[in-house]
């Protein structure tokens, strides 16, 4: 409410961030996982003096450098642009809290990039021992970027003691920091194995191909052995209300009230199961038959499960950007007015400037909609208001909005799922007038059917 709103029709701003972020995650996880893969595989080659492994790694590193430096950088900058436009309040809070951590993150990121280039361009130009050292350095720098960014990402769901102390170290080493770091590392190793399987499937010599395919398949083992235990640890650390939302979603799956969170959870579990079986029956048990096309398909499955799990993680902290501190529509919890019918348009800097006294009610309602609802809903499209409002008329909408204003969970069933509505009685009328312009067609249809 202190910044302009970026209206993204149909898709919604959150999905603009989501799409770019998910692609960036695919690449960044590959970058970190492959750091470990290169270091360990090159050590294997060094110990055995196996030229074939060296040749494989050289070929794999070409693909790796191209993807991580070009696509990784483009999407990384893309996230910053998208987040600044869609959720400026959220990113402002993260920058203010973790200035030092961001600086360190960039430091390691630059070191990671420099080492990646050095690693690729020094093949056969420096001694094997030095090249192995470069691989290890790259692994350390890339994991360091994860160690830092993980603090900020987990802070958003579980700010922990930071909520009272406002000390950045408390926010950084928050309750989900450790389980999240371990599980991310495991996923990164698995993805590194999957990417390497694509390269391995193209090796011409059958015996070496069998060896490399099996070697890469083993990189998926840690996530499936340790992953469930760490996943359980992670779940014990997330807020109680979030766990409640998950269980409600699971219990009500069969009666139509099937939450997106529950769907994302099921999808994540199902796709993970697919990966386990596929990995066992494919590259491990039948390395000879594991062709390039199958490897690509397998990688797509792996990316799908990673994307779904990230989507689920994002859903866990709804309706907040920073849990218990900042709502998804940019309103801070401590800024919530004590009175239920306090004005919204007199609070935010930009929103106040936009709301001129002679503004027509419908335009004022649209302004309120943009600031209070549009971070999660679109007019027509993702979480469409047109669908959600159904055939409600203006009076029904006023009643519904009055309910959304309530902060008592026993009265307002949406409390905890949506940010509380802040609106004076006059603003509430304006908002309902605007919403009634969205579902005109549905209302007309309902009236004609009742006749």
């Amino acid at each position: 409410m202190n910044y302009p709103v970026w209206v993204v029709p149909y898709l919604g701003g959150s999905w603009v961030i989501g799409i770019i972020a998910i692609i960036h995650i695919f690449i960044s996880h590959f970058a970190v996982g492959c750091g470990a893969f290169f270091a360990l595989a090159e050590e294997l080659a060094y110990r055995r003096g196996d030229e074939r492994i060296y040749a494989f790694l050289k070929q794999h590193s070409r693909f790796f450098v191209l993807v991580t430096t070009v696509a990784g950088a483009v999407t990384g900058v893309g996230i910053w642009f998208a987040v600044s436009l869609v959720g400026p309040d959220g990113i402002a809070s993260l920058i203010q809290c973790f200035s030092l951590a961001w600086a360190e993150e960039y430091l390691f990121f630059v070191a990671e990039l420099a080492t990646a280039f050095a690693y690729y361009y020094t093949w056969n130009k420096i001694s094997r021992q030095k090249h192995l050292l470069l691989a290890r350095l790259y692994m350390i720098f890339s994991i360091a970027t994860l160690v830092i960014i993980n603090g900020m990402l987990t802070f958003m769901l579980t700010p922990g003691k930071w909520l009272t102390s406002h000390n950045w170290v408390d926010g950084f080493f928050n309750p989900t920091y450790c389980p999240s770091l371990i599980i991310r590392l495991l996923i990164m190793f698995a993805l590194a194995g999957m990417y390497a399987l694509v390269t391995s499937s193209r090796i011409a010599e059958p015996k070496f191909r069998t060896f490399m395919v099996r070697y890469c398949a083993k990189w998926l083992l840690p996530v499936f052995v340790i992953g469930p235990v760490v996943g359980f640890w992670y779940l014990t650390q997330i807020p109680q209300a979030t766990m409640h939302t998950i269980f409600t979603g699971i219990q009500s799956s069969g009666v139509g009230n099937f939450s997106i969170l529950a769907r994302a959870l099921y999808l994540s579990l199902i796709l993970s199961g697919t990966i386990i079986l596929f990995n066992f029956f494919g590259p491990y048990l039948n390395p000879r038959g594991f062709t390039f096309r199958i490897a690509l398909l397998f990688l797509v499955c792996g990316l799908a499960v990673t994307g779904t799990t990230e989507w689920m993680r994002e859903l866990l902290r709804k309706p907040y950007i920073v849990y218990g501190y900042l709502y998804s529509n940019g309103m801070h919890t401590d800024e919530l007015p004590a009175k239920v019918d306090a004005s919204f348009l007199k609070k935010g800097r930009w929103a106040t400037a936009m709301a001129t006294p002679d503004m027509p009610p419908v335009a004022k309602g649209e302004l309120l909609f943009r600031y209070e609802c549009m971070s999660c809903h679109t007019v027509r499209g993702y979480r469409s208001m047109k669908t959600l409002l159904g055939p409600r008329d203006e009076d029904a909408l006023v009643g519904f909005l009055q309910l959304l204003r309530m902060r008592d969970r026993s009265v307002n069933p949406y409390s905890g799922i949506m940010p509380p509505l802040v609106a004076s009685d006059d603003e509430l009328q304006c908002l309902s007038k605007y919403l009634a312009t969205i579902n005109q067609k549905e209302r007309a249809q309902a009236i004609s059917m009742s006749h």
């Binding site: 015996k207 060896f211 009666v255 000879r288």
Partner: protein, 365 residues
């Protein structure tokens, strides 16, 4: 490196040897190793039969689980489905697996049937395999038809009523089959009981028996080879052993097929409509399931009377003739003439395109 691989496989070999000797699997192993699968650009279609089978296995397992709570009684059927969906832990999941599984089973069976047709798998000596496949396809559709009524909701009731009315008008067998299935003049308890019996006993037994024959024939004749592949010189033809190469790839395809099913179930769980009321008017724009939409739309297009013949009867006769074409295809295109092969292709393409076009039209109208 080789020594390392041997070490890794030591445990697997130990277990394998134990099972081979205790279960006398050597003959089976020999048979599987002897079987070769042709490798060519159309090899992808060889997986469709396996996919259909895995979906059928899902139907059997989920069907048995649903029978634990489903009550085939006119006053309790709908309530039992509601209970499965809302009160039984993961009941909605099992039911959705069954409902989506039936759709995918019919889809994959249809793709298998048409891909076999276009690969000329009906030619000598595989005529009986082809006919068995045709009957299996009909059985799959019968599964869909009989299972659709069981939830006893508004849509299933009226869609079945339309389906039974059409069945009753079928030439020769319609007069007998219609009342036999309905168990009286209208859809009632007798209909549910009969449909349930057919769905859970008669159809599975028939399908499993026929499937055994179909598989046995596939085993004895081997995989059919497209003409272009068969015409290439023997030294240029490539084959892979059925076991383990093809078998493990088949497993991967099964895993993916199951994955598609699970994703559909999770994203679009199968709902249940309001309880059927036989005395209420039929809902506006009622349509059958997608696999009957083409036939439904075709019948809708035919005028009430075509010359001296009643419109619906004419339509059923026309559709029966199309079906007959598939039945007698092994005699028409026996591989002796190119012209006949071309005719078969045109016939197959026309039927596929017609079916797709009518189904889309039916869905949109």
């Amino acid at each position: 490196m080789a020594a390392e691989l041997q070490q890794e496989n030591k445990l697997a070999k130990l277990i394998g040897n134990f099972l081979v000797s205790r279960l006398s699997l050597a003959d089976l192993q020999h048979l599987a190793a002897k079987k070769k699968v042709p490798v060519h650009k159309h090899s992808l279609w060889y997986y469709m039969g396996g996919i259909t089978m895995i979906y059928f296995a899902v139907q059997v397992v989920t069907g048995i689980l649903l029978m634990v709570y489903y009550v085939p009684e006119i006053n309790a059927a709908h309530a039992s489905i509601l209970k499965i969906n809302s009160q039984i832990d993961f009941g909605w999941f099992i039911r959705s697996l069954h409902s989506w599984g039936s759709t995918l089973m019919i889809l994959s069976a249809a793709v298998h049937l048409f891909s076999s047709f276009f690969m000329r798998a009906y030619r000598q000596p595989r005529e009986i395999t082809w006919w068995a496949g045709l009957v299996l396809m009909i059985l799959c559709l019968a599964f869909g038809f009989t299972g659709y009524l069981l939830p006893w909701d508004d849509l299933s009731f009226f869609a079945t009523k339309v389906g039974l009315d059409i069945t009753a008008k079928a030439p020769l067998v319609g007069g007998l089959l219609g009342p036999l299935l309905k168990g009286g003049n209208m859809i009632s308890q007798a209909t549910i009981s009969r449909f349930f019996g057919i769905h859970v006993a008669i159809l599975p037994l028939t399908l499993i028996s026929l499937l055994a024959v179909h598989l046995m024939l596939v085993q004895s004749h081997g995989m059919s080879e497209p003409a272009a592949f068969a015409d290439t010189p023997p030294e240029k033809r490539r084959y892979e052993p059925f076991f383990p190469d093809f078998f493990f790839k088949d497993m991967l395809v099964w895993i993916l097929a199951l994955n598609v099913l699970f994703v559909l179930v999770v994203l679009f769980p199968w709902g249940v409509g309001p309880e059927a009321n036989p005395f209420a008017p039929a809902p506006i724009g009622i349509k059958p399931e997608w696999y009957f939409l083409g036939a439904f739309q075709f019948l809708k297009l035919i005028p009430p009377m075509v010359g001296p013949i009643e419109g619906e009867l004419f339509g059923i006769l026309a559709m029966s003739l199309v079906g007959l074409g598939f039945l007698i295809m092994p005699f028409i295109d026996n591989g002796s003439q190119r012209r006949r092969a071309l005719l078969a292709t045109i016939y197959g393409v026309a039927v596929v395109l017609g079916l797709i076009f009518l189904s889309i039209w039916g869905a949109l109208s």
